[in-house]
């Protein structure tokens, strides 16, 4: 048994919120650089070069990459030999979000009630997902999610008879409908299988997988490659203003499902696909 004080969690979440909003992961940086080199549309290339400048300014001048610093989505992988002391873990996480967003000059974009819509003024609460693992480590992933792309995400409850073609069509439909609204080039997170909520969560988690790493299931890997190619042939392009770079990656996660179902979730993320990870 290992004891971790929740103040350590608060501190880590605070720092991860600030880090994620100012720096992309190296795989995202590389993918955006490659995209700028390979884009065929002159305007598209100009936009991708602007994104390069944007990342540089964000890091050097400590200005968030995007003004929509997101709702804080947090994945907690908790070793089952860990014991927390110092109060409720959820409170410690939200305190970290509060400190990160208030002290880190990040935008407060969360409203207390979806219909009454009063801003909480500190970007809390976060959306937290817990997973138990073996061992005595805690891995925290903070993934601030902007809503330009979140609003274009979809869940499709397909029928088994729709098969793999049905799944591919659903993903392409979501991407085409998103178009310029989702700030392309996008990253497409997909969850296939499970239940209604399980596929959505898998799609969200898929966005945190490096964009240069494919699924280790051979047919899924093929689908990821084929769909990325098809998406980049839609012509949507950077900013939706035409071009050959519409997505940087399609990341698909799968899970067993029911004999009667084929749920598919498509969680679209803009090119500011943020996540920062720390192990404690």
């Amino acid at each position: 048994m290992r004891t971790i004080h929740t103040t350590q969690i608060t501190q880590a979440v605070r720092e991860l919120c600030i880090e994620a909003n100012h720096f992309l992961t190296p795989d995202m940086d590389d993918a955006l650089k490659q995209a700028a080199n390979g884009e065929k549309s002159p305007l598209g290339k100009q936009i991708l070069n602007q994104l390069q400048d944007n990342l540089q300014i964000a890091g050097e001048d400590q200005i968030p990459i995007c003004q929509d610093t997101g709702m804080a989505v947090i994945f907690m992988e908790i070793g089952q030999d860990v014991h927390f002391e110092g109060g409720l873990l959820e409170d410690a996480i939200n305190e970290g979000v509060r400190q990160g967003y208030v002290e880190g000059f990040l935008r407060k974009s969360v409203v207390k009630d979806p219909l009454l819509r009063e801003n909480t003024k500190d970007n809390t609460p976060a959306v937290i997902h817990y997973e138990l693992t073996l061992g005595d480590q805690v891995t925290i992933t903070v993934a601030p999610k902007g809503f330009g792309s979140e609003n274009m995400s979809r869940v499709f409850m397909l029928k088994p008879a729709d098969g793999i073609e049905g799944v591919k069509n659903a993903i392409l439909t979501a991407v085409k409908d998103a178009g310029p609204n989702a700030c392309p080039p996008m990253v497409v997170g997909v969850g296939i299988g499970g239940t209604f909520e399980k596929c959505a969560l898998m799609a969200k988690k898929a966005l945190t997988r490096p964009v240069n790493v494919h699924s280790d299931i051979p047919y899924v890997q093929e689908m990821e490659k084929e769909l990325l190619d098809k998406i980049n042939r839609t012509g949507i392009g950077p900013g939706g203003l035409g071009g050959t770079t519409t997505a940087l990656a399609v990341n698909i996660n799968t899970y067993p499902t029911h004999i009667a179902g084929l749920p598919v979730a498509v969680n679209i993320c803009c090119h500011v696909n943020r996540h920062a990870v720390r192990k404690l």
Binding site: I57, G179, G235, G239, T244
Partner: protein, 183 residues
């Protein structure tokens, strides 16, 4: 084509722009997004005056992140314009001449753009740090309680945008995509 215009925007300038033009805006523009649009709409419903005179002005759909000390503004990129579609035709009919945002607009907005010889620009979404460098001053002028969603007056210098829907109704989102589509 690259063009430089000043804001507020004249009728002549608005009508000289074509979908696809890369435009640098210098002058005064105003921010408003969801909550500020709702308040303006409610004010109009009650026959109350708006906090800004819309005539010849440009609204930027943007809610910035907080400014660090000594800076005019934080990250400041466009938000999705379609959420404002419900309110936009009325504002255009009242004299609004330009909008800066990102993403598709409704047919009703496009018709109101043509009817009023206005223009819809896109700024590059997710480039808020870069775009903030073209904003030289920012002041909240209405609805302060809305925080990031308050109406701000911005002084901009060579603020880079692209014409998406021009005063004749040409739409770059429709035409440009076709040029690069490979089926």
């Amino acid at each position: 084509m690259e063009k430089h215009i000043s804001a507020p925007i004249s009728d002549e300038d608005a009508q000289s722009l074509s979908a696809g033009d890369y435009v640098y805006i210098t002058g005064t523009i105003y921010t408003a997004r969801d909550a500020a649009h709702l308040r303006m709409d409610e004010a109009l419903g009650k026959n109350e005056p708006l906090p800004i005179d819309l005539t010849h002005n440009i609204i930027y759909y943007m809610g910035p992140s907080p400014a660090r000390d000594g800076r005019p503004i934080g990250s400041a990129g466009p938000t999705t314009a379609s959420r404002m579609d419900k309110y936009t035709p009325r504002l255009l009919d009242l004299g609004l001449k330009g909008m800066i945002g990102k993403g598709k607009r409704s047919d009703a907005v496009k018709e109101a753009i043509v009817r009023n010889k206005a223009v819809y620009f896109a700024a590059v979404g997710g480039a808020g740090a870069f775009l903030s460098k073209s904003i030289k001053a920012s002041e909240v002028i209405a609805y302060d309680d809305l925080g990031t969603e308050a109406i701000r007056r911005l002084e901009v210098e060579n603020f880079p945008v692209i014409v998406v829907i021009d005063s004749e109704g040409s739409n770059l989102y429709e035409t440009a995509v076709c040029s690069y589509q490979q089926e």
